[in-house]
């Protein structure tokens, strides 16, 4: 029987596999080295290591890191942009932003398509959808000839105001398909039919840039699953909205898969585990080697953003889970500036040469070095004992690079550097919660990744929140997350009409069309009508307000904007704490949206029955530094042996192969029925 649901995540170093039996709750794990350039060997190795069989699997979920990597490493295909004559520099010009007023030495990253490959065509649609200049098909054919001669593999087509009248883009695609067989074509209407020419262009270009890579990768994945793993069931791909989509949809619109890996970790792992432990407001806090990712889940729903920047001037403007990336990880370097202030990062030592303790020639003091010197990370149990590290090198780096400048010992330097790193992370979290009008004290923090649990308790205390939840498998967050999310699509229709000028028949028709599109798409992916959840949304703002809010449309026919406006004002007050009096100016409907969710079977975290005692989990105690107490004798536990229902007081360190959990004094910890460690932090 096909009882298994399998999730994979292909990371830079490791490929993670997790299989869960939907009937019994049994879990099987595989962590194997990633195998570029074809990642399939690693996936198959992992599946084998986890002892999972294709015949017994009902659903295979895959994190498509390939698209994000292609953009970040600039390894997409040679791409051209066709746009409206007169607007050649919309892409390169961006929004003319700079990073700060003073840094004239700063440069944004190079744009993805050089200006020479931005080709223009005579055509123009007006802001209200009227054709001002008809499409000049000869220009399109000339552009096609240039594209052929230049060996370009993928084309983005973006015309001004095309979302109001997509016919020009559609006709252009037809001509290009005739002229350029085998070349991928992306039109902006399919990617992001919304206002803002630069943002739409950038998103469409990103899609075109990775489309051929995605297509080949997905074909390879299907082929490999079939031939080497005997699996021909559905393959679902994770997206940046915290959902999955069918492989055909992913090929059609690869841009929706950008940064899906951290997102599925945040939504399907941190959000889910938090909810199972009884917390629906969760800060998902992932710390790896070079970056720190933070997402917020409020009342069970992840905070979304409409604009996500892959690079400074490369926005991808599709709805996605708002994930902030802070340049603070295990490899971040501590240094003293000329004004005598201690800084950590943003420079990172990465994996090579890595922290000083790796003994690979790194001489800088990194966050990992501070954790070793402070007794938190056990040097004899680094990566479960698989890696040898040299604590004396950590001590040397901290003393020489920092301690000597202040007359500190290595331990004092480590303590201070730890505090700087921790408070930087804390500020980022504060900014993300308070700037949304949320009180961080209403949240629980779920740390994961290699380093999250090293900082989480101190951050919790600093921000004023009381609960830290450490789920059992922090090293498999993204693969696990892929198992806990549903199929999710989003459809949008621009409206741009003031309340006084709204034609409600047209508005309802537009909404009905979106619903139909949503149902069709879900049905094509094999979702039964009873498992479809359709959320009707409207983007609204006051007339002349620059930015809009997304609110839920009440059920039934839309006959007026009363409730919608009320909800919009409530949302505005929640975010800013202030609003304009209702009726002060007219409301404008910007877009209608439908979020289509297809509920699919999701394995639950199994309840664990594990007896034993704390004593059996205890290892050799050692001296560990904590913020309030300095170095104290501290109990050390092995995670796998902690008894379910067991409780203990801080200070303590819990060790497991993929992370170390630092539990400071004045805390009470409990192991719940799922194996989560729930740490209550006193003020």
């Amino acid at each position: 029987m096909q009882h298994w649901v399998v999730g994979t995540d292909v990371g830079g170093t490791f490929t993670d596999i997790i299989g869960m039996n939907i009937e019994t709750g049994e879990q099987r794990l595989g962590k194997v080295p990633t195998t570029p350039p074809t990642y399939f060997d690693g996936i198959i190795n992992g599946l084998k290591k986890a002892n999972l069989s294709g015949e017994e699997t009902q659903s295979f979920r895959h994190g498509a890191t390939v698209s994000t990597n292609a953009v970040e490493e600039r390894k997409g295909v040679k791409t051209a942009l066709i746009t409206t004559e007169g607007f050649r520099d919309v892409l390169g010009g961006g929004r003319a932003e700079r990073i700060s007023a003073f840094e004239l030495d700063w440069d944004p990253p190079d744009i993805i398509i050089p200006r020479r490959d931005v080709l223009t065509v005579r055509e123009r649609v007006g802001p209200w959808g009227d054709v001002i200049i008809p499409l000049n098909e000869d220009d399109v054919r000339l552009a096609a000839r240039k594209i052929r001669k230049r060996g370009i593999e993928s084309v983005a087509v973006v015309y001004m105001d095309s979302f109001m009248h997509p016919e020009h883009e559609m006709r252009t695609r037809e001509i290009l398909q005739e002229e350029l067989p085998g070349v991928d074509i992306t039109i902006s209407y399919d990617v992001r039919p919304e206002m803002l020419e630069f943002e739409r262009t950038s998103t469409t270009v990103l899609n075109a840039y990775v489309a051929p890579i995605m297509r080949k990768y997905m074909a390879g994945l299907m082929q490999t699953a079939k031939t080497q793993w005997n699996y021909s069931g559905p393959i679902l791909i994770t997206t940046g909205t915290g959902g999955v989509i069918g492989i055909d949809e992913a090929i059609k619109l690869p841009a929706v898969t950008f940064h899906s890996s951290p997102v599925s970790g945040a939504v399907g792992f941190a959000g889910y585990c938090g909810a199972m432990a009884g917390y629906e407001n969760v800060i998902a806090f992932e710390t790896g080697g070079t970056t720190n990712n933070v997402s917020m889940i409020y009342k069970g729903t992840p905070a979304m953003t409409r604009e996500w920047k892959i690079l400074w001037n490369v926005p991808c403007c599709l709805p996605s889970v708002d994930t902030i990336y802070m340049g603070a990880g295990g490899g971040s370097v501590g240094w003293v500036d000329k004004g005598g202030i201690l800084n950590v990062g943003p420079h990172s030592q990465g994996a090579v040469p890595g922290p000083a303790c790796y003994g690979q020639g790194g001489e800088e003091a990194t966050n990992t070095d501070t954790q070793i010197v402070l007794g938190r990370i056990n040097p004899d149990y680094f990566l479960g004992g698989d890696m040898t590290v040299y604590p004396e090198l950590s001590r040397k780096a901290l003393k020489e690079k920092i301690g000597d400048k202040y007359g500190w010992t290595a331990e004092e330097a480590a303590a201070n550097m730890y505090m700087v790193a921790m408070t930087n992370l804390m500020l980022g979290i504060r900014l993300q919660t308070v700037s949304r009008g949320w009180d961080p004290r209403d949240f629980a923090i779920v740390p994961y990744g290699g380093g999250g649990a090293l900082y989480a308790c101190d951050i919790a205390r600093e921000v004023g929140l009381s609960t830290v939840i450490v789920p059992p498998l922090p090293g498999y967050a993204s693969a696990f997350g892929a198992l806990r999310v549903d199929v999710r699509h989003e459809f949008v229709q621009p409206i741009f009409t003031l309340e006084s000028q709204l034609d409600y028949d047209k508005l309802n028709k537009a909404m009905d069309d979106l619903i139909k599109k949503a149902i069709d798409t879900l049905a094509k992916e094999g979702i039964e009508p009873k498992n479809m959840v359709l959320q009707r949304l409207a983007d609204v703002k006051y007339w002349s307000q620059a930015n809009h809010f997304t609110v839920e449309v009440p059920p039934g026919k839309i006959e007026n904007l009363e409730i919608i406006t009320e909800r919009f004002i409530t949302a505005m007050r929640a975010k800013y704490g202030y609003v304009l009096p209702p009726g002060y100016v007219e409301t404008e409907v910007v877009n209608l949206r439908v979020v289509a969710t297809g509920i699919i079977p999701k394995p639950d975290l199994p309840k664990i029955t594990r007896g034993g005692s704390l004593k059996e989990a205890a290892k050799q105690p050692r001296k560990v530094w904590f913020r309030d107490s300095g170095f104290v004798d501290t109990a050390i536990y092995q995670r796998e042996f902690l008894p379910i229902g067991g409780t203990f007081e801080g200070p303590a360190i819990v060790e497991q192969p993929d992370t170390t959990i630092v539990i400071p004094p004045r805390t009470h910890s409990k192991i719940d029925q799922y194996g989560n460690i729930i740490i209550k932090v006193e003020k």
Binding site: E103, D105, A546
Partner: protein, 649 residues
């Protein structure tokens, strides 16, 4: 009224000692980042809430925290230098009207009098006193550029104004909010005198909301760390920046440097010579003096700026020399002596017109300061040697939009080419250096205003050519869809952004109505109340960044790249760079350098001199002597900013 004395600001003591940190290092670090991030948060909230696109999308707003004595502590990452440079001055002016003793929690004071805020009447300053347990701890300051402040012309810019009475309504410091409530009567008085007051109500709400947010953040810090610690942290911010500054100054040799730049014309005094802005920088040990008293008297038309203008432009130019000292705070301002003479173009007094300050006096003071800093740093930090850059042009169009049935005031600012660097070409498509603005998307403007864009593209060949070239400016073309009234208030139509070390000056700005037709009207950078009819077409371009070094020394491969990308015509490649390029197949992008012909052409051009002058594509007579001691690589540029950037930056 300012007196006739020369006014000195800055240095309070002749010799300052380096002060060591007197508080816990970690608390200092936390609060240092918290101050800046609170300002950033405030600015972001305005950006998202505000009404007019120039505020919401264009970011013409700023936030700051100041001490009770008027010392600037921090400002946001994306704020406008033209705003926060005058915060200190502005707060001291507020005290003259409303003494500290009279201030109460829940008050907010607002004013737009240009001589008080230090810029122009559109920049409304809102100060909110921050109390903790009854004690005044600090001030929150929020500035938003209101797109219209009344007066004869939509957008309030008026190049032909000869006094403040021909611009907008001047609001002296008033208590506009009491107990956190807007005084509707006072605001009504204001609102009755400006266009689209409904929108301004939205901008005002966001402005007050942002100041309240800063208030809350500082109060939270007081609750957590204690008010004494927070106040000490203010002073320690200053001492820290001061320590960094002294380390820099100790490595720079003493000296005196001079530079001048010109405004094209005094519109209201035809035939008079251009407006000269001059400064002498003296560095002696840790003592710096910028002396602006050699500048021309205030023009009759709207060009000059009040004293605050000169301060903020001078501070900006100074910080561009030392960007790692971010943010601008009292640690800098108390160490820079700035001398101005009331009644000069860089220190106009009541009742001189001021709306044009930003494209006039501010731009020139900034450009002169950067030229002075470049000379001072040529030896010690050759990567901080910069030529002139794109200047600001304010384009205002007032119209009734028949489509949306709303009256509108469009305010669009220019995007142009930035200065070249000694290690790289200048950036294209960027704002003038004093604003951290963003462009307003054309698709958004078209929905608001009765216009249709037909072009948003670089102006080919129009940069300052050089070994490293300046950035390219942008041309916007648009069709007019309803009867409109247009004002253009800019500069640099004649006097281009300067090139240095033999690099050429950048291109100049232009605005033409109905180009290429019998009705062609070259209105230039100064025009008031131009009536536009349906079907008129506007061509509007900006200035381009100045170049560095002789263009004939430019790597031919870089010239080839520019020609392939369509920045540079083949003719310009020959004329300025002496590089001959064969276009074998344009469609296939087969472009090749003809090395032999290039060598020959460069040999022929060896003794040729580019014309000397201050116009487009000439060699600047003073700028040519500003030379970096050596040409660094991008990797050699240092140090960098250490304050935490907002997540995602």
């Amino acid at each position: 009224m300012a007196d006739k004395e020369e006014i000195k600001v800055g240095v309070k003591e002749e010799l300052r000692e380096i002060k060591e940190l007197k508080m816990d290092l970690i608390t200092f670090e936390v609060l240092r980042n918290a101050f800046v991030s609170a300002c950033y948060e405030g600015s972001t909230s305005i950006e998202q809430f505000a009404y007019h696109p120039v505020v919401g999308m264009g970011r013409d707003r700023s936030n700051g925290i100041l001490t009770v004595d008027g010392g600037l502590v921090a400002h946001g990452h994306t704020d406008a230098a033209a705003h926060y440079g005058s915060f200190e001055d502005s707060l001291l002016n507020l005290f003259k009207h409303i003494p500290k003793e009279r201030m109460k929690p829940g008050d907010a004071y607002m004013f737009s009098d240009p001589y008080e805020v230090g810029s122009h009447v559109n920049d409304t300053h809102l100060f909110k006193p921050i109390f903790y347990n009854g004690e005044l701890i600090a001030f929150a300051c929020t500035v938003v550029h209101w797109p219209d402040m009344g007066g004869p012309l939509p957008g309030t810019f008026n190049p032909e104004a000869t006094s403040c009475y021909a611009e907008g309504v001047r609001i002296p410091p008033i208590t506009l909010f009491k107990n956190n409530q807007l005084d509707e009567e006072l605001f009504g008085l204001w609102a009755a005198n400006i266009r689209q007051a409904v929108e301004r109500r939205g901008d005002l709400t966001s402005q007050f909301g942002s100041a309240s947010l800063l208030e809350k953040r500082v109060q939270d810090m007081c609750a957590k760390y204690g008010p004494e610690t927070v106040k000490l942290a203010f002073e320690e911010q200053f001492n820290y920046i001061e320590r960094l500054l002294y380390k820099e100054l100790d490595e720079i040799e003493d000296g005196e440097w001079e530079f001048d730049d010109y405004g094209d014309q005094d519109v209201m005094a035809p035939g008079k010579p251009p407006i000269r802005v001059h400064c002498k920088l003296t560095k002696k040990g840790r003592h710096l003096t910028f002396d602006w008293t050699g500048s021309d008297p205030a023009p009759i038309g709207s060009w000059g700026g009040p004293r605050g203008t000169c301060l903020s432009a001078n501070y900006l130019g100074f910080m561009i020399g030392f960007p790692h000292l971010f943010p601008l705070n009292r640690g800098i301002t108390r160490n820079v002596e700035i001398i101005t003479k009331p009644g000069t173009a860089v220190h106009v007094v009541y009742p001189s017109a001021t709306t044009g300050y930003c494209s006039g006096a501010f731009d020139k003071v900034e450009s002169v300061t950067i030229a002075l800093m470049s000379q001072m740093l040529a030896e010690s930090a050759p990567w901080r040697v910069y030529p002139g850059s794109v200047s600001l042009t304010n384009l205002c169009i007032g119209a009734y939009n028949p489509r949306t049935r709303k009256g509108t005031v469009q305010y669009t600012f220019s995007v142009g080419g930035e200065n070249a660097r000694t290690f790289k070409d200048g950036k294209d498509f960027i704002f003038m250096r004093f604003a951290n603005a963003k462009t307003i998307p054309q698709e958004l403007e078209e929905r608001w205003f009765p216009i249709l864009y037909t072009r948003y593209e670089a102006v080919n060949d129009w940069c300052g050519h050089g070994k490293f070239r300046g950035g390219f400016p942008v041309v916007r073309e648009l069709d007019v869809l309803a009867e409109s009234l247009m004002t253009i208030h800019g500069d640099r139509e004649v006097y281009a952004p300067y090139g240095i070390a033999g690099g050429l000056n950048g291109g100049t700005g232009k605005l033409i109505v109905n180009p290429g037709t019998t009705e062609e009207n070259n209105v230039g950078m100064y025009a008031t109340g131009i009536k536009l009819k349906v079907g008129d077409h506007i061509w509007f371009s900006q200035s381009g960044g100045g170049g560095i070094g002789d263009p004939r020394e430019r790597d031919p491969e870089l010239v080839l790249k520019d020609v392939m990308d369509g920045w540079l015509s083949n003719e310009a490649a020959r004329k300025f760079y002496g590089v001959v390029i064969d276009i074998v197949d344009e469609e296939a992008l087969d472009y090749r350098i003809d090395w032999k012909a290039t060598e020959k052409l460069r040999a022929e051009m060896k003794d040729m001199q580019f014309p000397e002058g201050r116009g487009a594509h000439q060699v600047h007579p003073v700028g040519k002597n500003i030379k970096p001691s050596w040409y660094p690589t991008p990797e050699q540029v240092q140090p960098h900013i250490t304050v935490s950037r907002p997540p995602g930056w």
